[in-house]
Symmetry: C2
Subunit: 113 residues, 2 copies
DNA sequence: GCTCTATATTACTCCATTCGAATATTCCTA
DNA sequence: TAGGAATATTCGAATGGAGTAATATAGAGC
């Protein structure tokens, strides 16, 4: 049972473990977006984005509703946003030591979010 | 740059995306433990645990110090524990819909942590 | 220095994830 | 109902992650 909980957590983290999927969740932070809008904002292949959305859907991190031709996605639980926010604190605290990007980091604080 | 940051985040989540590594972090929740102690508590192969520790070390999620023959591990940032706690909230909210374990869930509330 | 214990690393195999390309599905509109 | 737009799914190739077994390293004590 303990173990099932850990598998569950691991699954969620697995779903979060891709730059594109993180980007998607961050884009959905302030409200719904259609798949098309996501594709445009991400500037990536339609099929690729759609596959990542499928992962997020499978793990139930996002909800989706059809509106005519389009499909609108949203973050299913604000707690996920809280997790991302907490991780942002972590990232700010440790990015410098973790990567060799000190210079760029200092120069582009605004890029951090 | 945005992208490098997201890759960094994804890497951290990737490191968290395994039940054994989550178990390790939870075991380290209340203080340092030696690799041997972790192996014993986890009841897993030495090499296997050591590899998972290597992942956590590589991503800098844990700190380690040598004491004679042994190596003691600790969580490098409490924020990670907070994240795991948040995930528990998420778990409680969604497990029923997410997994097919309704019955056990209701019967073993105390096992939840 | 030799041996024992604790831990890490390597090699190999198996399974999962990722991407692009092509194809399928669904819904709208003429 | 045919065509077009939006989105999803499938396939194959490449890459990456996980587990086991075997081997290597490092420190302690004799």
């Amino acid at each position: 049972m303990q173990d099932a909980l850990r598998r569950f957590k691991a699954d969620i983290f697995q779903a979060l473990a891709h730059p594109t999927r993180i980007a998607i969740l961050e884009l959905l932070r302030d409200g719904d977006l259609s798949a098309g809008a996501l594709i445009e904002k991400l500037g990536m292949e339609q099929a690729n984005v759609s596959q990542h959305l499928a992962v997020l859907r499978a793990k139930q991190l996002v909800a989706h509703r059809k509106v005519g031709n389009q499909v609108f996605y949203s973050v299913r639980d604000r707690v996920l946003i809280d997790v991302l926010d907490l991780m942002r604190i972590y990232f700010h605290a440790h990015l410098k030591e973790s990567l060799g990007m000190l210079d760029e980091l200092d120069k582009t604080q605004e890029a951090l979010r």
